[in-house]
């Protein structure tokens, strides 16, 4: 007997969410264009070079930054390097399993990575120890602690906040005093889910379970686009994509205020 391990959302619940969406409503009472409450706490992990815990509603993620010295990539000998990974430990959801990162976790990590990289948030050119020989490698590890939807935005925000307060651990490597990690302006990620004919921002878990399509955009401080990702089997029209980006530009301003204080 082969029983699917992940409990499927019931047909009744799916019908209900779609029916509500047609009336312009969401199950938790939010507007289509409303985020859940976002909180950011910084500097909570002593062993990390930088850290932040972000809550979006009941979703909670912890990002920790570690720096190490390594060789630069051959195509960028005068730049430091960065690496982003996302862990979905079984602690965070009844549906997460132990083991090496699955495609879901890798997709989230790569989308967050692109936003940070393309917005040049980390000033990699200032992370050279010996040109061509030794550079700093910035490891961004995002640990999901409680999963109630929208890990793209929660993970991105936690990574940005953790980088914001990170230090270069010169002391540990005998290179003098620690100094702040050089960063510019962070990317802000906004994610949308489409079900029925509704497109909602910051999807909760149940909304993700019924979502036909998902869209994430990372914007810089000018509202320019630095990374995008369309996910899942459903489709968007060109108008819908444009509309999502316009909506994201408004949300990103508000989230940026939270981040930059």
């Amino acid at each position: 007997m082969d029983i699917p391990e992940v409990k499927r959302i019931s047909a009744v619940k799916k019908d209900y969410l779609i029916k509500l969406a047609k009336q312009g409503k969401r199950a938790d009472g939010r507007e289509f264009d409303e985020y859940r409450k976002i909180t950011i706490e910084r500097n909570i992990i002593k062993k990390a070079e930088g850290s932040a815990r972000v809550k979006i509603g009941n979703t909670m993620v912890l990002a920790g930054i570690k720096l190490d010295i390594g060789e630069p990539y051959p195509d960028s000998p005068e730049e430091g390097a960065m690496s982003t990974s996302v862990e979905l430990p079984p602690l965070a959801s009844p549906d997460f399993e132990p083991g090496p990162p699955k495609p879901d976790a890798i997709e989230i990590a790569r989308v967050i990575d692109r936003g940070i990289r393309e917005s040049k948030y980390i000033k990699l050119d200032k992370l050279v120890v010996e040109p061509g020989e030794k550079v700093w490698i910035v490891f961004i590890d995002i640990h999901v602690l409680d999963y109630d939807g929208n890990l793209f935005d929660a993970g991105s925000l936690a990574a940005s906040a953790a980088l914001q307060n990170a230090v270069i651990p010169n002391e540990r490597f005998g290179l003098g005093d620690n100094e702040p990690l050089p960063v510019g302006s962070p990317p802000i990620s906004c994610t949308f889910a489409k079900f029925g004919n509704a497109i909602v921002v910051d999807p909760g878990l149940e909304e993700e379970q019924v979502a036909e399509a998902r869209f994430t955009v990372a914007l810089d401080e000018n509202g320019d686009i630095r990374a995008m990702q369309k996910g899942l089997k459903g489709r968007f029209t060109v108008e819908e994509i444009k509309n999502n980006i316009n909506r994201a530009q408004i949300h990103a301003k508000n989230i940026r205020k939270l981040l930059e204080g």
Partner: protein, 237 residues
Amino acid sequence: MGELIKDGLRIDGRKPDELRPIKIEAGVLYRADGSAYVEWGGNKVLAAVYGPRELLPKHMQDPTKAVVNARYNMASFSVEDRKRPGPDRRSIEISKVTSEALESVIFTELFPRAVIDINIEILDAEAGTRCAGITAAAVALADAGIPMRDIPAACAAGKVDGQVVLDLRKEEDQEGEADLPIAIAPRTEEILLLQMDGHLTYKEFEEALELAIKGSKYVSKLQKEALRRKYKKVEEE
């Protein structure tokens, strides 16, 4: 030798039989069936319990009892040099002895074919993570309503500068002479977990064990207070 204890006090000013500050909170996660957060000195540990639920794949099931499956995992940023994500031999061993220690108090026979998953995440590490992990896991099990004979509690003792001390911190663990982590069933003082490395005479072992039991019993008191606080809080609102 002679640098970790001065004038009878340890490098952080503790007496030989004194624990680091410990803070326990029950029921901290939304998705888990039971959860707990423990800060113990510089350690920060989160534990979540899921189940009892059906164990899949089916050939892993035990028709007579539930399988207890604890998983100890260190976050990559929890240590000085970044740890590669995923289990290493150390965390696999700790997961095994933790599962066994916790299983010994759980009424597993009430849930044949099921699994009780216990996930322990070490978020910030500073010596003594396995004891902090078991302590958090035990509170999470109680919070999840799992039937048990007792709520296990853990604590380590060891030897530093020739003296038996309670609850080693990082420097003492690295440079000391012995480490003896234990977990007990506080009601009966039965030993559920015991590991040791280093060098102890039989007499020193007796002394260290007595100290570790004393420490565990204090931890037990904090665990119970945390659980009462959570359920009482609801009552008073």
